[in-house]
């Protein structure tokens, strides 16, 4: 079936089986590789994107549900050269090690900061449940607080 949506500000249409996970449409049909495959069962968050501003684990989200929606991936998080506050904070705190899971974490954090611009440690614990095997969690927590600060300063 034909499915149309907006991704990172661009209108897109794809001809695909509607049950196909959105992750593979983004990665292999639209050739945007920043959204990662981690488990295929929505258990790790490596594939987190935004659909209409909400964090969604795209490996378990059938593409047919994306019809008419507004999608943002890590490639669309920054505004051109200007990094998103979450990316700035990730740079400042030097969070990534292998880096594979980081786009998912940054997308989950960006969505959290929209809902809770100044999250507490408990908010972070309750909302960011992605998996990072390099265990960069200590810096991640600092970076999430720092991103909130940057976002507040920009406002």
């Amino acid at each position: 079936m034909k499915i149309s949506f907006t991704i990172n500000g661009q209108a897109q249409s794809v001809e695909v089986d509607g049950k196909t996970p959105l992750l593979w449409v983004i990665r292999d049909m639209l050739e945007m590789k920043g959204t990662k495959f981690g488990c295929g069962k929505a258990a790790c968050g490596a594939c987190t994107i935004h659909v209409d501003g909400k964090a969604v684990r795209s490996c378990s989200y059938a593409v047919k549900f994306a019809q008419g929606k507004n999608i943002t991936t890590i490639e669309g998080l920054s505004q051109g050269e200007e990094l998103h506050p979450v990316q700035q904070a990730w740079m400042e705190e030097v969070v990534p090690q292998c880096g594979y899971c980081q786009p998912g974490f940054m997308m989950a954090t960006a969505a959290l900061l929209k809902e809770k611009p100044n999250p507490t440690d408990e908010d972070i614990d309750n909302n960011i449940s992605n998996v990072c095997r390099c265990a960069t969690y200590y810096r991640m927590r600092k970076a999430i607080h720092r991103a909130a600060e940057i976002q507040a300063n920009n406002a």
């Binding site: 292999d28 920043g34 981690g38 488990c39 069962k41 790790c44 292998c98 095997r133």
Partner: protein, 672 residues
């Protein structure tokens, strides 16, 4: 003092093989056997094939835009290798970090790592060779600059990639555009440590920006024209082999291009990955399971006393049976669970093959692929990519062999990756271990004798990183017993035995050779002994450490961690401190954990860590590795557990395979 060096012959670039340091240090005991002694003495000759290429121009590429590209034979898996190597090179080339890029060296025309990236020796093994190569490159550039400008080489000054003298100047980029030949200098001088500008600085990781932008840098991100997607149907159980498959139903599924049946596996090739996955479910495979395995069978197998034993440490006499204190420990099998699943993209043509892969062993991947295709090694090019985690999971790459066969059968480039379930079910696991410890205490509460027996499946043996010749030299698998020796050699009587058992599944290194289980066990037992003796765990450790250089360093890090953590001071209600140390891989380390019990589970609030690494190339990278290591170790010791049920591995998904996440990680980590 600066070091003057004759330029190096090939032999001088004999970079220590992977777990080189550990192996050689650890062999003190093994080499008492005369046969092993002889082999050990000749190890360098036996391992000549493992030399890294020493041509500076193979390592460094200089662009007209005045950028230096370092082709690294070591891979970047998160450990910061590229950043540390760039710092070493920048120092000798006299350039700022922003002039250096690091890429993975292709196995074609670029330096090939003789062994692996692993065993924590990337920086220590490259410390000299890479600085020498960079100095050589610098002198070759100087020679060319001098002849282009018509001045003497020694009259040229070098600063940030530009030679100047006599009112003229040339950048590296300008030199390479005009140079016609490169001559290796006869002698090079390495910079003295006091002049270091980049080494020792906490510069940000050079791969930071691409990783924050989500750039396509990993193996799974590789995309080639006309590429197809392959799914290998992997055994659903351990100790199980492929017999044959009925593929008819799969062949007519949407998008399927071909079903490839080889002698030991079957795979579906389709236009997209979801199509290949759907069709793979329709393949009816006839598997042969040799034996039904339950968890108890594995536990019975991994008991000290089973299999072959090997003495790895011996001082004085044995533990006396009378008034002996004994303890028994076991650790479960574990998954690497690295976030990027294994896999590769292979493109095989009539007389050549290219493989893109996240591998810790590019050279062995090339050997494996060449062998399975019946090619010469030179016909295979391995292009390593950034690794989405390594931890030992990519020290063996049979998946590249499968991808190559699938590509050859399909006649197209093929992208073949594991599902997460396969990653858990058909992986190479951290071997389960069993330990028995015994000791005698004297009347004044000192340890008179101690014995540690560790039983484990293989971790290094059987993998490409330890060639079979080395197995004979080593006798016992350092991958299994690493960290199992007793560092408290103030104790007069010590015995440590390693027991080797064969498991019905593949096992591998897991973020260190054997260190995790062995350190946990030995340090826990020390606490039991301190408790029996009624002594403070810190004082008890200090009292049993020798006055050797190593012993003094361990004391220093223990005291530093204890002081910083407030050892002996009052703590908030319900909190307690624990201390432990480890001294493998040449970097003694001590940690103090502040914990409490919340809902019957241990909660780690703060970890204070002190370590001594010698020359720190990049203090922030060390800190980053320590932070990650602390949480990964905490995760493994408190949460992670796999079992065998009806020959199946369980669990096979994140969540049920519980790992530490943000909420479990200590809010406070201090590194001194």
């Amino acid at each position: 003092m600066s070091e003057k060096k004759k330029t190096t012959s090939r032999r001088n670039f004999l970079v220590k093989f992977t777990i080189g340091t550990g192996v050689l240090v650890g062999m003190t005991y093994a080499v008492r056997n005369p046969l092993r002694r002889m082999l050990y003495d000749n190890a360098e000759v036996l391992l000549q094939d493992y030399a890294i290429g020493d041509s500076a121009t193979a390592w460094f590429e200089i662009t007209a835009e005045n950028q230096i590209i370092l082709h690294s034979p070591k891979v970047e898996m998160g450990q910061g290798a590229f950043t540390g190597l760039a710092q070493l090179a920048a120092e000798e080339l006299e350039v700022d970090m922003d002039m250096i890029q690091v890429v993975h060296a292709s196995t074609k025309g670029r330096p090939v790592d003789p062994r692996s990236t692993g065993g924590s020796d990337t920086i220590s093994s490259m410390w000299n060779p890479l600085r020498e190569l960079a100095a050589k490159m610098r002198e070759m550039l100087r020679q060319n600059a001098a002849s282009i400008l018509g001045v003497s080489p020694s009259s040229l000054n070098l600063a940030n990639g530009t030679f100047s003298g006599d009112g003229k100047s040339l950048t590296f980029g300008e030199i390479v555009q005009q140079a016609t030949s490169w001559e290796e200098p006869e002698e090079i001088t390495l910079k003295p440590a006091k002049d270091f500008k980049t080494i020792g600085k906490p510069v940000p990781r050079i791969d930071l920006k691409p990783k924050v932008m989500g750039d396509p840098i990993f193996g799974i991100d590789v995309s080639l024209p006309e590429m197809l997607y392959g799914v290998v149907i992997r055994p659903p159980k351990i100790d199980t082999v492929f017999v044959r498959a009925d593929t008819r139903a799969a062949e007519s599924m949407p998008g399927v291009v071909k079903v490839v049946q080889e002698k030991d596996f079957v795979a579906v090739v389709a236009e997209s990955r979801p199509q290949a996955e759907m069709a793979a479910r329709k393949v009816k495979v006839n598997w042969k399971t040799n034996k039904n395995w339950e968890q108890q069978d594995i536990l019975d197998l991994v008991k000290v006393g089973q299999g072959e034993d090997f003495l790895i440490q011996k001082e004085g006499s044995k533990v006396k049976e009378e008034e002996m204190i004994a303890a028994e420990y076991s650790t479960s099998m574990g998954a690497h669970a690295q976030m990027e699943p294994n896999g590769s993209v292979a493109h095989v043509e009539a007389d050549k093959a290219v493989v893109y892969i996240s591998t810790q062993v590019p050279k062995f991947t090339r050997i494996q692929v060449a062998e399975v295709l019946g090619f010469e090694e030179e016909q295979v090019e391995v292009k390593p990519t950034y690794l989405g985690g390594g931890f030992g999971r990519r020290l063996n790459t049979p998946n590249a062999m499968q991808a190559a066969l699938i590509s050859r059968a399909a006649g197209k480039p093929v992208h073949v990756f594991f599902s997460r379930q396969d990653e858990f079910q058909s992986a190479e696991f951290r071997p389960p271990t069993h330990h028995t410890l015994k000791a005698n205490l004297s009347e004044d509460g000192m340890v008179e004798s101690i014995e540690h027996n560790v039983s484990s499946g293989d971790a290094g043996f059987g993998s490409p990183i330890i060639p079979p010749a080395m197995e004979t030299i080593l006798g016992a698998d350092i991958g299994a017993w690493g960290g199992g020796r007793i560092n408290y050699t103030g104790i007069p009587n010590i015995r440590v035995y390693s027991w080797r058992i064969k498991l019905p599944f593949s096992t591998a290194m897991w973020r260190a050779p054997g260190l995790m289980a062995n350190t946990f066990v030995v340090e826990s037992f020390l606490d039991e002994l301190a408790h029996q003796a009624g002594k403070d765990p810190l004082e008890f450790r200090l009292a049993h450490l020798p006055n050797t250089e190593k012993g003094e360093t361990i004391k220093k890090v223990l005291e530093a961690a204890a002081e910083k953590a407030g050892w002996g001071k009052s703590l908030p209600e319900g909190r307690a401190l624990g201390i432990a140390c480890c001294a493998e891989i040449g970097a003694p380390i001590a940690q103090v954990a502040e914990v409490s019990v919340v809902d019957n589970e241990i909660k780690v609030h703060k970890v204070t860590c002190a370590l001594e690494v010698g020359i720190a190339i990049n203090p922030d990278q060390i800190r980053q590795q320590v932070e990650g290591g602390i949480v990964m170790g905490l995760s493994a010791s408190m949460y992670e557990k796999m079992e065998v049920q009806g020959s199946k591995i369980t669990p096979t998904i994140f969540g049920p395979y519980r790992m530490a996440t943000l909420k479990d990680s200590p809010r406070d980590i201090e590194v001194v």
